[in-house]
């Protein structure tokens, strides 16, 4: 019990800090490292709420694939890998706006009750059964979105478009 609470707080602080750090550091490569840490901390949450498949997915897709993709992007668009990002002013308005949203949403969140304090886990087989039967159409839709996205990405980066 205590352990779980402790884990939650540690993970929560990690997630928030890494996310902020990812957006604030001036070196893009460092950003990638921070964001990878952020993805991993989120995966920790998924394990914490008994959703191990999603944790794995998070590690594989986000912490793995997406991070690598982002790193590629940085490498391709920068002459020097460890180039500094130009400083951009924080400005009071964006911060205030973000804070406003956080406060309003957090306040609203406190009014939402869960059906129970008990967290339910699902076996991977139950999840896959549901995904391929009940929500088969969703996966199909996802595939339909991914295919043109792939084609579009290839089209965008192909040579000779100058």
């Amino acid at each position: 019990m205590i352990l779980e609470v402790l884990a939650f707080f540690v993970l929560a602080i990690t997630a928030a800090v890494t996310a902020l750090a990812a957006l604030l550091v001036r070196e893009l490569v460092h950003t990638i490292i921070w964001v990878a840490a952020f993805f991993v901390s989120l995966a920790g949450f998924y394990f914490l709420v008994s959703a191990p498949f999603l944790g794995a997915l998070q590690l594989g897709v986000y912490a793995g694939a997406v991070t690598i993709l982002l790193l590629f992007g940085v490498m391709v668009t920068r002459k020097r890998i460890f180039a500094h990002e130009a400083a951009t002013g924080l400005g009071p308005a964006p911060v205030a706006l973000a804070l406003l949203i956080v406060v309003v949403l957090a306040t609203a969140a406190s009014t939402i009750s869960s059906s129970t304090n008990q967290v339910y886990g699902f076996t991977i087989s139950a999840l896959s059964t549901a995904l391929f039967n009940q929500y088969g159409a969703w996966l199909l839709l996802l595939g339909l979105v991914m295919l043109p996205a792939l084609a579009g990405a290839i089209y965008l980066v192909r040579e000779g478009r100058e």
């Binding site: 992007g73 949203i101 969140a109 967290v119 549901a130 009940q134 969703w138």
Partner: protein, 107 residues
């Protein structure tokens, strides 16, 4: 596992969304922008998963949250792929990935 309140997760999700929004509003680098969007997206996915976990005892719920989260992770990955393709194209065409300079849709 018991004891953790749902509200805690939701508050965390709200904080992450705020961080994402903050990034979207302030960063000019396209890659950082993508990262900020991912942060916001992840806060949403976290919400789905958490709701799914806490409402899992109610028939018809729970599994739905996780299923949606799977689909969303897929979508997010796709989005990053397309986004990076745009970054590459932009870099090649304009020599810069500063979004504030990209004001026209067609070059």
């Amino acid at each position: 596992m018991t004891g953790l309140p749902l509200a805690g997760f939701l508050a965390l999700s709200a904080v992450l969304l705020g961080i994402g929004i903050f990034g979207i509003l302030t960063r000019r680098n396209f890659i950082l922008l993508l990262i900020a969007i991912e942060v916001a997206m992840n806060s949403a996915i976290l919400n789905f998963v958490v709701f799914g976990a806490y409402w899992g005892g109610v028939p018809g719920y729970g599994i739905e949250g996780q299923s949606v989260a799977v689909v969303l992770i897929g979508l997010a990955a796709t989005e990053v792929a397309v986004g990076l393709a745009i970054v590459l194209a932009l870099n090649r065409l304009r020599g810069s990935i500063n979004v504030a300079e990209a004001t026209v849709l067609k070059l």
